[in-house]
Symmetry: C2
Subunit: 191 residues, 2 copies
DNA sequence: TCAATTTCTTAATATATCTTATTTTTTTAA
DNA sequence: TTAAAAAAATAAGATATATTAAGAAATTGA
């Protein structure tokens, strides 16, 4: 199991002894997925949090009208799950689907709870992870509320150039909350 | 200083000894504010996180065009700050203004850092706080992307009835990302 | 390599939401 | 209590974005 990336992800915020590292790694499971596979489907129970070793994932919600809203993308070195449903043991509100072939490490809710008990310093790690996620979402909310579609698009490609290059335009449109046709139109008008 | 509410807020997630409670309370400062006062102004440095003992606050961003976007409301028993700028010691992106006369307890970034050192269990508390904040924001993003204005309005008054009753309609419109005129129109059409 | 599928673009029309202006209602402060 | 200020409602016209449909381009899978 490839473990160097996840360890360096964690050790940027907390220090772990070799024993602790070993304990942590033993709680993980590796999973490999090919394009279009679903890591999680809306309505299913969401029992794991995933760390991306390689590849690209997309989390999206389909509403009653069938409209697709992209919640987030995850690339190498990112964590992803339906956090609300994971934490509260509820059926997932989102799908997580593979955009580019993935290798992920998964940690179950039970194992995460064990981890908090055994190595309380992981509370600090996930505090920082949650802080960052919250701040990202809040900034996105501000931009969704205050910027027109073209500017949101420009901010997106500026902030996530590697993602913008790797995913379909219609998926970016879904992240921005506009139709692919409209994204196409404003891109064309831009020049 | 009124301390029972903040202690019960914290002790719903972690246990503190009397000594720890005392230590924590000594890091806080009380502040009382009247309507329309600013707890924080856009561009200022954001050095504190605030716990609301009573009253109502509104955090909002004003963009280049002067458009007002409400980031969040905070009522009794809520925490509020510009989290991104607080954590990263950056000029605030939001204003925090008093909607109804407030009593707040403030904790500085320096004191929070001390607190993490002295009582590491506070990492767990703020982890849970950040988890909840992140999940709330993410749900809001999904709704912003997938629901029309009327349904977002209905969700808002269902989720926060006490806030909906206490703040101006134009502030709710600003939270929903629509103009007050349009909110007025869809409310009228509803019947 | 090639047929099939998916994605992207374009354009016409439709709809949601905004802007501006005015009037009515509510709240505030002296 | 009342005048002033702020908020809310209404409505007409403007704009951003959606919908539908079709064709072009790119990608996929056999």
């Amino acid at each position: 199991m490839k473990s160097d990336l996840i360890l360096s992800n964690i050790c940027q915020y907390i220090s772990l002894s070799p024993v602790e590292k070993e304990y942590f790694l033993n709680l993980l499971e590796e999973e490999n997925l090919s394009k279009k596979e679903f890591l999680l489907s809306q309505g299913e129970s969401c029992n794991h949090i995933y760390f991306v070793n390689s590849g690209i994932l997309r989390a999206f919600h389909i509403n009653q009208d069938g409209k697709d809203a992209t919640v987030m993308f995850a690339v190498k070195d990112w964590w992803i799950t339906d956090m609300y449903c994971f934490l509260n043991v509820l059926p997932s509100m989102v799908n997580i689907q593979v955009v580019a072939p993935c290798s992920v490490l998964k940690l179950s809710k039970n194992n995460l709870d064990k981890l908090y008990d055994e190595i309380p310093m992981f509370n600090k790690f996930f505090r920082i992870l949650m802080q960052n996620a919250y701040c990202r979402e809040q900034l996105r909310t501000i931009q969704n509320l205050s910027l027109p579609a073209l500017e949101r698009y420009e901010q997106f490609i500026k902030k996530y150039p590697h993602i913008a290059n790797a995913v379909a335009l219609k998926q970016i449109a879904s992240y921005l909350g506009i139709t692919p046709e409209f994204l196409s139109a404003i891109r064309a008008k831009k020049d």
